[in-house]
């Protein structure tokens, strides 16, 4: 009989103990887990991404059902242990289960601490700890109401950011005069605040909540400065309380948390406690890195192995908000006995501060540039004497060696004991060793095996770079399934399609041993795309049912299920007659919102699906075609007025934009594709953040590629310069075709060029004239069948028939006369 281990809490720290235990010994225990939440183990520190919509819940799952199955773990989801009977070694659950244990692990985490305030017991006053909290927030927030977040610490800022990303007016109140005062000094706090204000968060510092009012739910909030706002949700992120209720009731020793020794044992040697609910040497921890350190020692004890035991953790913090780089560790404030080394550039938004005591780093604050965080942290942890480094230390590690190289160089300069993943305490050496010894090939393997990058994910880039450096050329051959349906990567799929003939996506699935009959949202559109690349529209019929919604119905779906309609405005150049026609049509269909897009055209929003067909007909009749604002294909060609009007213009950028759009419209690409043409290097058309940016100079045109203005802005790389219009057209065709054939589905040019390297693209097109010409020719051929207006075509081939709902009047339904509304 195996010993029985019961884990209370299906969260990150409890399950980490099990993972560490399995690494030492697989089958020692019969394991049962109780989890109060009705989910698998998910990554709680990604809640802010879940809230902001940057990740789906599926992305945050750490242990999938298959993991529980593989280790024969019984999981009671949504059931809570309500009593521990340590005399009889039993636990009792809310659903009435009574189970004996030999060893018990309490990993109950913590609860949000909501301070008692007038109205704090109203409905919709919540914390921000769980998926349920995140879901509740998402359900409640609305454009006409203000959301209030209380607490300017890590969690509060992440919550406010997540809400503000939905375009909701968000007020963050914070008791002290500077945000993140537990981790940041005032300068850092100010810079961070300025950055977050740009996301639309309004800060009220030195302020708390006076009262919350409402009948049963929150209706308004009054602050201590007397101001009152209408609000329907108040999120408290004012701290956490270790969840010790069970332990107290069972008679275990507790103070702030459940008291544990260096092996994470409570006052009862068969009962362990770990994570936010545990207190070690007077400290409780609310960050993930210390919990994972504890897990290692707890697992060793459970496996019956000796260890020196856990001795506490140095805390370091990263904020998980996209576009904000922030790191702090140690004594970041200092005092009169310490010195400070400071580098501050407010305009650029970079702030670095090292707190020095007796020539050693004792505190770190980095804002805007955290590339050297791990190096500084290592110097701090090892108490390194930095007196020889101090004139250059703020410029980072690369400044010391005189090598200002990028990417790979920095990684290879890292020492083996340098920590790369702060959440899981993984060093570069660990990763390299695991890759070599366990023959790891993919980022997923490394994540699973070493845990590097498996929590907040901010170090994944570094981990991948180590993988590349360690495996060298071999890395390119590695394969990770593009989704759960298969074990093959994009590269293998493309090769298979290139070398075999297929009629449809399902034949590809069969050939490559798909695990599902119909694929899924990730793979089916990808395969459909690759088939289209190979065969063009002439030999392969684009499978609408394998396309995502917008590409399927030729319009952009909106949050309420209506669509937006954007006709093409060639080069952003329109006429009074065109505007009149469009206005008439917008009036006729009672379009609720008409807006100019960033791509210099008009977006008509709020169109019902059944209105699409007649509206398209009217637009077609007025001479418009679809602007393909929904397409994984050519979107817009943005222009400035150029030398037709502008006194600085060097070329006719407007006409060039029109010509390029006439040449490229209708083309489909792995992801959306945007072009811009600027008439002079002042670049008013913002060409340097487009997939292709054309900039006019006196002697011709500069071509820039692979820019992107999304979450992470990427400025284009200069590609080449041409003298004539004809050459420009030729290059644009070839670049688009090469991208279309070489990139993976849903890979923007920016990501593609980052992956394959600019030199690769240059070699293929600039050094190989024959290939350049062939690519341009293939583009021409595919355009012959691609330049068909999808609006007109789908009206004529009857596809739009299914856009109308079938309306059945309940009173007639007995005799049923199902009429299809036309």
């Amino acid at each position: 009989m195996k010993e029985k281990l019961i884990v209370i809490g299906n969260g990150m720290s409890g399950l980490r103990v099990l993972e560490d235990l399995f690494d030492i010994q697989k089958d020692k225990y019969d394991i049962t887990i109780f989890g109060e939440e009705p989910h698998l183990n998910y990554n709680r520190i990604m809640l802010s991404y879940l809230l902001s919509g940057e990740k789906t819940f599926e992305d945050t799952i750490i242990n999938h059902q298959s993991w529980y199955d593989e280790h024969h773990i019984t999981l009671h989801k949504g059931d809570k242990v309500i009593k521990i009977n340590k005399e009889d070694k039993k636990v009792i659950s809310k659903n009435g289960k009574e189970l004996p244990y030999d060893k018990l692990l309490i990993a109950t985490g913590s609860n949000s601490f909501i301070p008692h305030t007038i109205g704090s017991d109203l409905e919709n006053v919540i914390g921000f700890r769980t998926k349920l909290d995140s879901d509740t927030i998402l359900d409640l927030i609305s454009k006409d109401k203000t959301a209030v977040v209380v607490g300017g610490g890590l969690l509060g800022l992440e919550a406010a950011y997540g809400i503000a990303m939905h375009g909701i007016k968000t007020i963050l109140v914070h008791r002290s005069g500077s945000i993140m005062s537990q981790q940041l000094d005032r300068t850092g706090g100010r810079l961070l605040q300025k950055n977050l204000e740009s996301y639309g968060i309004e800060f009220k510092l030195n302020t708390t909540i006076k009262k919350i009012e409402g009948k049963s739910k929150v209706e308004s909030v009054t602050f201590t400065n007397g101001q009152t706002v209408e609000s329907n949700i108040v999120v408290f992120a004012t701290g956490i309380t270790p969840n010790t209720a069970l332990a107290i009731e069972a008679g275990l020793d507790t103070k702030k948390g459940i008291l544990v020794n260096d092996h994470l044992q409570t006052s009862d040697e068969n009962i362990f406690a770990i994570g936010e609910c545990a207190e070690h040497n007077g400290n409780t921890y609310g960050l993930v890195a210390p919990l994972y350190e504890q897990a290692k020692f707890c697992a060793k004890k459970l496996a019956g192995k000796d260890s020196d035991g856990y001795t506490g953790s140095t805390l370091s913090t990263r904020l998980k908000i996209s576009g904000v780089d922030l790191f702090s560790a140690g004594d970041y404030l200092g005092d009169e006995t310490t010195e400070e080394l400071i580098l501050l550039d407010e305009k650029v938004g970079v702030y670095k501060k090292l707190v020095i005591y007796q020539d050693k780093i004792i505190g770190i604050v980095l804002y805007g540039d955290t590339a050297d965080a791990s190096w500084y942290l290592k110097l701090l942890k090892e108490h390194t004497d930095i007196s020889d480094l101090r004139t250059k230390i703020l410029f980072g590690k690369s400044a010391l060696s005189g090598d200002a190289g990028h990417g790979g160089d920095d990684i290879s300069a890292m020492e083996d004991d340098e920590e790369i993943c702060g959440c899981n305490g993984v060093t570069k050496g660990c990763v390299t060793k695991a890759i070599k010894e366990q023959d790891l090939k993919t980022l997923g393997d490394v994540k699973q095996c070493t845990k590097a990058g498996a929590s907040c994910g901010s170090c994944l880039g570094v981990v991948e770079q180590i993988l590349v450096n360690t495996l060298g050329d071999e890395y390119n051959d590695t394969v990770e399934g593009i989704c759960d349906c298969c074990d093959v990567g994009h590269k293998e799929i493309k090769e298979c399609i290139d070398t075999n003939d297929f009629d449809n996506v399902y034949d590809v699935f069969k050939k490559l041993d798909w695990k599902t009959d119909d694929g899924c949202i990730k793979c089916r559109p990808a395969i459909n795309y690759y088939l289209l690349v190979k065969y063009n529209d002439t030999k392969y019929k684009n499978d609408k049912r394998s396309a995502l919604i917008n590409d399927r119905v030729f319009a952009n779906i909106q949050k309420d299920g209506t669509y937006s309609v954007v006709p093409r405005i060639w080069g952003g150049l329109t006429s009074p007659q065109e505007l009149k026609d469009m206005a008439d049509i917008a009036v006729k269909y009672d379009v609720p919102t008409v807006k100019f897009t960033g791509g210099q055209r008009l977006d008509m929003l709020g169109v019902r699906k059944e209105q699409l067909e007649p509206m398209w007909k009217d637009l077609n009749d007025a001479g418009f075609v679809s602007g393909q604002a929904y397409a994984k294909g050519l979107r817009t060609v943005k222009t400035c007025v150029g030398n037709q009007w502008c006194r600085f213009g060097t070329q006719d950028s407007m006409q060039m934009g029109v010509d390029i759009e006439k040449m490229t419209w209708g083309s489909w690409t792995p992801h959306k594709f945007k072009i811009a043409v600027s008439g002079c290097p002042r670049n008013c058309a913002e060409a340097t953040i487009k997939d292709i940016g054309v900039i006019a100079v006196d002697s011709g045109w500069e071509i820039h590629i692979a820019g992107n203005g999304g979450i992470k802005v990427r400025v284009t790389d200069f590609f080449t310069k041409v003298e004539t219009d004809e050459e420009l057209f030729h290059y644009i065709k070839a670049i688009m075709q090469f991208y279309r054939e070489d990139a993976y589905y849903l890979e923007r040019t920016a990501h593609w060029v980052e992956r394959v390297g600019l030199e690769y693209v240059k070699d293929a097109l600039l050094k190989d004239k024959a290939n350049l010409d062939a690519c341009a020719k293939r583009f021409d051929i595919s355009q012959e069948s691609a330049q068909v207006d999808p609006w007109e075509q789908s009206r004529k081939d009857g596809f739009t028939k299914e856009f109308s709902p079938i309306v059945i009047a309940p009173e007639n339904s007995e005799s049923f006369e199902a009429k299809e509304r036309v």
Partner: protein, 102 residues
């Protein structure tokens, strides 16, 4: 008591596609899977009320177009790591005509 209501001829529902049915205040999405089976489900994702009728069908699941939740057409349950459920309606095909139990 629920009764069978005639909706439309089965050919009017595209394979691997869907149609929307308005029945009074109720909005139902009817799907046809690759093997020709018909499923009827409340046209509202349990997550953020996305229109499931606009989703991608695979097997007997549909992926919501809003945030990619996978919904089981047989039970209306959210799959994978998500939890939530939307109403399903019994359906049948007789003489090439689709009926839903309402």
């Amino acid at each position: 008591m629920a009764s069978w209501t005639k909706i439309t001829e089965v050919e009017h529902i595209p394979s691997m596609g869907s149609r929307v049915v308005h029945y009074g205040e109720i909005e139902i999405a009817i799907f046809k899977t690759r093997d020709g089976s018909i499923f009827a489900i409340n046209n509202e994702c349990p997550h953020k009320q996305g229109k499931l009728s606009e989703g991608l069908i695979h097997g007997t699941n549909v992926t919501c177009p809003m945030h990619n939740w996978d919904i089981d057409l047989k039970s209306g349950e959210a799959l994978g790591g998500d939890s939530g459920c939307t109403n399903v309606y019994e359906s049948k095909i007789e003489n090439d005509t689709v009926f839903i139990s309402l």
